[in-house]
Structure formats: C-alpha cells, structure tokens
Amino acid sequence: MDLNDVKYYINRELSWLQFDYRILEEARSKQTPLFERLKFLAISASNLDEFFMVRVASVEDKVLAGVNRKDISGLHPKDELKAILDESHNLVNLQCSTFQRSLVPALNAVKIRFVGIDELDKKQKAYVDDYYYQNVEAVLTPMAVDASRPFPLILNKTLNIAVLLDKQGEEAFATVQVPSVLNRYIALPQDEMGNRCFILLEDMIAAHLQELFDSYPILAYAPYRITRNAGFDLDEDDTENLLYEVEKKLKKRRTGEAIRLEVASNIDERLYRFLKDELDIRKNAVFYINGPLDLTFLFRFYGLDVDESLKFPAFSPMPSPMFDDRNIFAQIREKDLFVHLPYEQFDPVLDFVQSAAGDPDVLAIKQTLYRVSGHSPIIAALAKAADNGKQVTVLVEVKARFDEENNIIWAKKLEKAGCHVIYGLLGLKTHSKITLVVRKEEEGIKRYVHLGTGNYNDSTAKIYTDLGIFTCSDAIGEDASALFNMISGYSEPKHWNRLAIAPYWLRDKFYFLIDREIAHAKAGEPARIVAKMNSLIDKQMIAKLYEASQAGVEISLIVRGICGLRPGIAGLSENITVRSLVGQFLEHSRIYYFFNNGEEEMYLSSADWMPRNLDRRVEILFPVEAKDIQARVKEILEMQLKDTLRASIMHEDGTYSHVDLRGKERFDSQVYFVEQAKNACAKTPESSQAKIFTPMQNNEEE
C-alpha cells in the first residue's frame, strides 16, 4: 500500500468547507436554541468570507501564476479552484435556505420579523422615513460611473447597492455603499400583531434611492458585495523594516483583487454584467443570494434581548479551584497550576502578568503576543512593568492574519512605554503562547513560565477552549529563556530540556513520539495516540499516522476543522477515528497524548499538524508533567471522545455525520465542563469565593 497515493488524502480547501457545513448543521439543527442557530449561521458566513479572502485567493493566485503542482489529494490548482467554487455555491445556497426557510419562520414563530419596505404599516413607514433622514441620508455617498468617473474603489466585504439609471435615454451605472458605521438592522415599532419588527439598512436605503438620483429615473438596483484577496506575501528577504512592509501591504489589502461577487438573486442582467466586467470576476465566482447578503450581521442580532430559552444557558467563566488569593508566584512555587478556558477564568493569566509588573523582585518579563483583545489588560500590564523599570521584551506578531493592524498599534504602544518590542521574525510567524517572568529570590534567579494553547486575549478566552500551565520548573524556565534568546536573534541552544520548538525540532519530536507507539505496537504492547487539534493537513504527519495505524496503534483524533486524513480504510487507517466537535465554545486547544506502554505522556501545544505550524512558525510543544494536571488533561480527552451531542464523526469519503444516538448516552462534553467548573467553584474554600463583609453585631440587641 503506497502511503503517498493521493487517493488517501483529502483536499485542504474542501475539508475547510466541510467544517463550514458542520457549523451550518448546528444552525439547521432544531436541537439548538434559535438565537444560537442564528449565531452559527453568522459564523459559517464569516468563515466563508475568510475562506475566500485567504484560501480561494491563494488558489486563484496559483492558477494565475500558472503553478501546476498538485495538492496532497492530487488536484491541480485549476481543478481545485473549480471544485471549491462549486462546493461553495452549494454551501451558500444552503446558508440562504437555512435563513429563509428555517430561521425566518422560526423567528416569526417567536414574534420576531424582518420586514421589507412593502410590508411596513403606516407607523413603521413614518419611523423608517424619520430614521433615514436623521441618521442615514447624511452618510450616503452615491457615486456615478461614466467616462470621466471610473468605477470607484469598492472596499472589501462592504455592502453596496448597484443602481442602473436612465440618463437622458442612456443607461448609466451608479453605486452607493451601505454605511458600515450604521447598524445593519433597525428595530421598528411593533406591528399590530405585537411582532418585534426589523428592517435591513439596505432595504431602507433602497426605499429612498430615487431621492439620491433625483434627476435620473432608476431602471434597476440590487445590493452587491465583493470579497477581495487578503493574503499578502511579504518578500521578507528584501525586507529591512518588517513593520513598514506590513503596514504597506495592509493598505493594499483593502483594495486587493476581487475574488467573489455576491449579488441579490433577482439582480438585473445589465447590472450583473456591468459589475462582473468592472470587477473582472470569473463567472463561477459570482454568487446569487436569495435573501439578505452578508449574514454576519446576525452576530450582532444575537445580542438582542430575548427570552433566555432562545439561547444557550448563560455562563460566565468560573474561578479556577487551583488558585487562591495568595501571591501567584508563591502558589506556582508550591506546584504547577492549570487553567481550562473558557470554563475557568482567564484571571490567573492576567494576575500573572499584572503581579509581575508590580512585583519589586521581578527583573524581567518576556511574552509572545499573537492576537490580543481591543483593550488588552495584558498590554497595559506590560507597559506598566516597563514603567516600573522591569526589562520587558515582547514579540508582537505583526503578521498575524487579520490582526496585523491591531498588533502594529499595540507594538508601537509598547515600544513607547519602554518595552523591547520584536515585530516578528523574518520568514516565520511566531504563534507560540508563552510568558516568562524572571524573579530574583533569596535562593537566586527563579523563572516562572506560563505556556498556553491559546492567545493572550481576555475576550476570546471567554469563548475559546484552551489550556494553560503555570510552572517554575528549572528545566522549562531554561528552555523559555533559550527560546526568547533565539527569538531575540541569538543562536539556538545546544539542546532543549522539555520544550519542542517549531520550525526546527517539533516535527521530529512528533515523529519520535509516534514512532515509539509504533514500536510498542509492533512489540505486541498496547499502543495508543489521542490527538486533539484544529487542523490536520500535513501530509507527512498523516502518512506517519497511517503507518502507526498499520502497525496496530489505536489512534483517536479530535480535529475541529480541516482534516486531510481518511479514517477507517481497511489496511491503512482502520485503527484511526476522527471526530470534530462544534459547540457553544470554539474548540481551540491542542492536546497530544501517547500511551507509551503505560508510562503515559501528554503534551499541549500552540501547533496544529499543518505544514505552516510545523515548518513555518515558531510553535511550542510542552509536556504536562504534574500528575494532577495530567489527570485533568486526560479527562478532557476522554470526555470529548465520549461526546455524542456536539461531535461529528468523519467518514472515509471526507464527509461527517452526527453520532448515531441509538443506544448511547446523550452527552455534551462542553456542558459537562461547564458543570464541572461550577461544581468545583462551589467546593472552593472560602478564601476564593466572593468577598462579603460581615458586620459585627451587638449581641445584646438580639
């Protein structure tokens, strides 16, 4: 059996679309609360936007550049582009029908209605007019296109209305951007039936369109939206100033080549032709949308105040029972500590950095930042630390896709505060999540390290499942220093104690761990691998897993998104199962477990099994060494493998289906962890419970 045979691998982009289908499946499921369904639909729409901006753009670039190299599944770029566009059309059609046929009726059933301009009652009509003149009219800029005025720059992902005018007998084209500064939907007065009604902004503008072009009658109009190529390839070999180059490329992103055109399904043929020609877009990259364009507005709509039964039960992350009120460094000195996000609070991570910033014994803080939140308390703490005279080194990855602009702002702010800022590394993205605090203690220098699977982002920490460990192990501390030395431009260390670092050592470490299981299996010993990640598309890793399966290693993969491996093929992968979890929280942690003939080893990482993680990024794989944390990590894997409600099982052909519930317990691992966090918090000693002052009472009064 040739492990390199392309028939054993699935195309990356088609697998991405499968993930979108799984999200859409949640939006279609009647088991999911209605507003969560809306959110899942928004997620699937947003994912598809990113898919076009990055992935489709990349494949299209290859086609245009005449690249003829096949992907792991044997597709040439041209065939790949056709396949993914075809599949995208199916997905978009399903998105539209999900909204129109399932969600709109379901909303109506709970007395929420999206109304068209023709459906307004008198009161509502007056409200719309009033709203339009007060809020909308002033921010509209109609733009005509003629010989002296070329087709204007239509920004990426903006919603626009194309207008065909009768200009004294001649057809003329104009366009109006639906202002993104305004809310996409507007709440209207209730109708006579007591329904909460909403109108979409583009419908409101359309109703007043003629007023914008008062001298020319409107022949036709239609909303449209374009998606542009957002990928940028930096020529880093010639880049002296990375920051400057990234800023330059960012400006270009807004005006990158158009990759997709979405138009209303009833668009006038003349408008369609005009847009297609002006944007120079291929025919099968035009998507006819039956219903509202750009369903990402449902993210915001989700925030509507509705009956709580329409959403998942509200949950706020709980305090972790491993932490108490004492100084965090004192706690880490006692034992390694662990945080399971978002079930547990992100606070210990903040506390770690904030305490370090104010601790007179702390000499230095070093951190890698990939994505941070809008008002990041981490950044504030780092700036404060520098202000307090600590040596602060921060690697801010200015090439973090879609966070480039944000990260440049943070980087400049940190630099201004006196931090030593590294704007990423030439040729590599730094994706690792690590913080090192160097403290001078009585016994000498002590290093405290936080290692995580997710970003230092207090906002996403409430919705992404991630794991993190705090330790003051000398071995890991030395490795952490060595890593920051490397990042700062010094030579690699002679060896690593515990950490495995990409791009130079991580792949080999994984091979070693898998090979060891293979050797156990071949020796007739039990062998097992459980790996949880976001994506599995690295061909060599997949081949290694096939090899392990053939040797008899039992392999359970929990892959949220892209998976290029085909499980369950006799003689190749019958010992491999793949499941994907899509739930209330975004599965984001990377966990790698190896049975090792009973001497179990488990690792956490920032890396997926993708070529980019293993070969082109700085990533960290770190071991879980403390027995109590090992038990928790193992439990996480066990519960996710037991999940019957949020899990989809991958089939040999690359499709997925929900777990057949017949004869099985209905089990949602995310709900289990929510309950676990709540229970653990309830059992936590008083010291970490909510603080309540107890007034002294005069006993005599009683």
Partner: protein, 501 residues
C-alpha cells in the same frame, strides 16, 4: 545564603558567547542563561591577518546587546575576554579600544596559557571524574578554529601542552587556498593533519600509554548531544569519519568542511593511543572563567588544583631537557625559604614566588642543547614554552631570571624586551637576586645544606644553615652573588653555616 551573579563574555573567532551564572558557597555554581552570537571572523583573520571594520562593529554591537541582557538578571559581576585566537589579528588592540569606547567595558585579551588554564578549569568543573581520569595517561585535545592544543596528563600530573596550527577553520581556509577538487579534499586533510601529529608521537608521546582522550572545541557542538559529558566509542567515530570521507563533499557546505578535519584529528589521536572512547564534555571558556572567579571570591573549588599542574609541567619540561633535578628542586626549596623572609617587607606576591619557583625548576635546561651559550638557550626555551595560567610577562620574567643568573645584571635598556615596564625591571632584579643566592647555596650540586632559613636583622639578610660537609665553595659563591641582592633589597647578605659532626 546570599547569591552572587556573574557573567562571562568571550569573543572568539567563531562568535561571541555569554554565559550567566549564580553562585554561593553552599550550592556552588549554576548556569542560568547562555547567549551565542555566531560570527565567522576567523576566516578574515587567518586569511588577511586583520579584523575587518564590519566585524569590529558587529562585535561591539553584540556586546552592547549582551549588556542589556545583564539587566534581566541584575548581574553584579562581569568579565569580558577576547580569545587568544584573535591575537593573530594585528589590529586587535583597536578592537579593545572600540569596545571600551562603545560599551564602557574593558576587554582582556587572553594569552595562550591563561586561555588554556581556563579551558582546563572548565573541563574540571564539568567532568566529575576528571581527577580520576588523569591518574592514567590522558590527552586533552582542544580543537579550536585556529589551533589544536594538546595537553598531556599522567599520574594526575600535567606533563605539558603543545600547540599546533591545526584548527578546523584554518584547515578549511588552507584547503580553500589550494585548488582542491572536492574528491581530493578528505585525503589532503588527512595528509596535513597526520604529518604534524606524527611528530607529536615521536617527540612528545613516545611510548607513554594513553588510556583516555578528552576532546573539546567549538565544532564538537555539532556532534554533541544533550549530555553534560558525551562519550563516543572509537568505532563510532571511525564510521562517521569514513562516511564523511566517502561523501563527495560539497565545497559550499561549511559544516562538512569543519566536521571532517575535526574527525580526522580525533581519529589520528585515537590511532596513536590505547583509548577506546572519547569523552566530550559540553564546556565553554566561560565555565572556566566563572570557576576562577568563584574560587577567588568565595573559595568555591572546581575540583582540581591547576597551580600544581604548572609546577608538574615545568618539572616534566626540565626532565625532557635532562636538567639536574636534584639540584633544581633543592634550589627551589631554598629559594622559597629566602623568598618568605623578604616577601612581606618588600611587597613581593604569589606571582613573584611562582616566577622564582619556575626559574629554579627550569634552571639550565638550555645546557641540553649547548654548554657554551646555555643561559640564552634556556631563555629561548622558556620563552617558547607554555605554562598553564602563567602570563606572558611572568614567563618573560622566568626566562630573564635564568638568562641573567650569571651574566652582569643589565640596565633596563639593555634588556631588549619590548613593552616591559619599570615594574617588570624591579621584579626581575628582585627575583634574580633571590635566585642567585639560592643557586649559590648549592653551587656544587651536592645539596650539602640543611635547615636553610633567613632573617633580616638591622641591615643584614642573614641566611643560616647546618651541614655535615665543608661549604667553602658555597660560601664563596654566596658572597660572589650577593652584590645584586644588596643593591636591590638594600640588605647585606650574610651566610652563617653551622657545621655538625
């Protein structure tokens, strides 16, 4: 217990390294961080004999960056050394000045013996079985980028150190100057290395049994794994060498071109010894520097006394030149006695005593070559020899003490030693005067005197001894050689010997 932090920075031909340590008396020395900035300035030094402007700039910039790193650990002590290998650059002094101006740090340039001492120090502190290994015949190969230094131990005594211009970069550089085909490259390296080492076997090693080989050097990092001390079996290294030689080495692959000379050198030594394996401790000069600092400051002992090594190596050298060791060691003891008496009032220090001791041990080694001009020959031999952790100036002192042991003591201008100071001249005069008296007391080479000791009384330096024999010649020689002493110390030497029946 308070912890002291220390950083050592070493600039050598392959780059700049800094190691940061902590220490206290209770827990010893602990390395806490390490930084390495790779540079290939060896190539320009070996080729052009100078350090380029760009390299000097780069070195200063990196040292400056390293200084920032010190703040991260609040490091209290720092020493910056420039390796001896850079002394081949004629403009090295300019670099030292630039470093001082740009970083405020004073860089010390290591001489060969000091560097060698620090290297051995680093091995002793990393290898817990060092003292045990050197009980048997042991060779330590320090395979640098420019030079190969071979150190020989036996019965826990240092026998000597020999330097060859066979560093891996130098060999590569030499090969690059020849119009060598890739396929000829391995063979030519073997020829170049083996011819030099054949001489080592014939003149130095002779029939001495060598059971242990310790190898260190920058390129060993390519082979070494995660161990503190890596151990390679002879066959393992032979196989690797054969594999490399069989490859049609790509001239652009620097790694191959450095690894092959390394393996050829190791292999050649393995073949001339009985060693079955090679020990390769993961050491750096910085480890030796911190060991020295820790010993000086806190008496934290690294496990081996290198001062004794210097004496044992000098004795071995004297024996090679067939010196009268009974006389030399006897004079050494008398000289030490005399030194004790004058050291305190005249401010003589340990280093001055070391000079006196070495001069006593090496007395007359030039006579092995020629009786006629033996003092000058002794001078030359000492000047060209290396004594562990002995500065160039002190070696020059030893050589001059013996050069002027009989000749009239010269005027400072007649010394013909460039760059010596008036301090040097005064020390030379004092040590020579002491040596002359000590030597005179065994002028017949019969070790007649016992219980030699000295006192200072009024304006006299009284040397007392007992003997069973007549000491007329000794008394005559003592009086003949007392002039310089009187002039230098302002004391009149008086010899009082009690005859015992």
């Amino acid at each position: 217990m308070a912890v002291t932090s220390f950083a050592a920075i070493v600039i050598n031909t392959s780059g700049i390294a800094m190691r940061i340590y902590e220490m206290n008396k209770k827990s010893g020395i602990k390395q806490i961080d390490e930084l390495m900035h790779a540079m290939q300035c060896g190539q320009e030094i070996y080729k052009e004999g100078r350090l380029s402007f760009d390299s000097a700039e780069e070195i200063c910039a990196v040292v400056k960056e390293f200084q920032k790193k010190l703040l991260e650990y609040a490091v209290e002590n720092l020493q910056l050394y420039i390796s001896h290998s850079l002394t081949e650059a004629f403009n090295l002094d300019f670099l030292v000045t630039q470093i001082r101006i740009k970083t405020g740090l004073k860089a010390k340039v290591l001489n060969g013996s000091k560097e060698h001492y620090l290297t051995l120090q680093s091995i002793a502190c990393k290898m817990s079985n060092f003292n045990e290994l050197i009980q048997k015949g042991t060779l330590i190969l320090d395979i640098g980028y420019g030079n190969l230094q071979v150190t020989q131990y036996d019965h826990a005594k240092l026998l000597g150190t020999h330097r060859y211009q066979l560093g891996v970069s130098r060999i590569r550089e030499m090969m690059s100057r020849l119009d060598v085909k890739n396929s000829d490259y391995p063979r030519l390296i073997e020829e170049a290395v083996i011819s030099d080492l054949r001489e080592f076997k014939r003149h130095v090693l002779k029939d001495q049994k060598i059971e242990n080989v310790i190898v260190i050097g920058g390129e060993m990092g390519v082979l070494n794994q995660q161990e503190n001390v890596n151990v390679y079996q002879k066959e393992e290294l032979q196989a690797l060498r054969k594999e490399l030689m069989a490859m049609n080495l790509d001239a652009t692959k620097i790694q191959n071109k450095l690894l092959l000379p390394l393996l050829v050198i190791i292999g050649s030594f393995m073949e001339m010894t009985d060693a079955t394996c090679v020990y390769a401790p993961d050491v750096h000069l910085c480890d030796g520097i911190v060991s020295e600092f820790a010993y000086k400051k806190f008496k934290i002992f690294s496990g081996h006394h290198f001062t004794e090594d210097r004496i044992s190596a000098a004795i071995h050298l004297a024996k090679r030149f067939d010196c009268d060791m009974d006389h030399n060691l006897y004079v050494r003891n008398i000289a030490n006695e005399l030194f004790k008496t004058v050291s305190k009032p005249y401010g003589l220090n340990n280093k001055d005593q070391q000079v006196l001791e070495l001069a006593s041990i090496l007395y007359d080694c030039g006579r092995y070559i020629n009786h006629h001009n033996d003092d000058d020959l002794t001078y030359e031999i000492i000047k060209e020899s290396e004594f562990i952790n002995l500065s160039d100036l002190n070696r020059l002192l030893v050589a001059n003490v013996l050069r002027y042991k009989d000749k009239p003591f010269p005027h400072v201008h007649e010394l013909n030693e460039p760059l010596v100071s008036s301090d040097f001249y005064v020390i030379l005069a004092r040590v020579t005067a002491l040596f002359r008296l000590a030597d005179a007391l065994d002028t017949c080479h019969l070790q007649k005197l016992e219980d030699v000791h000295a006192t200072i009384k009024n304006k006299e330096f009284i040397v007392r001894a007992t003997t069973h024999q007549e000491v007329n010649l000794e008394t005559y020689a003592f009086n003949e050689s007392s002039g310089l002493f009187q002039e230098v110390f302002g004391l009149k030497p008086v010899f009082k010997c009690k005859r015992r029946v």
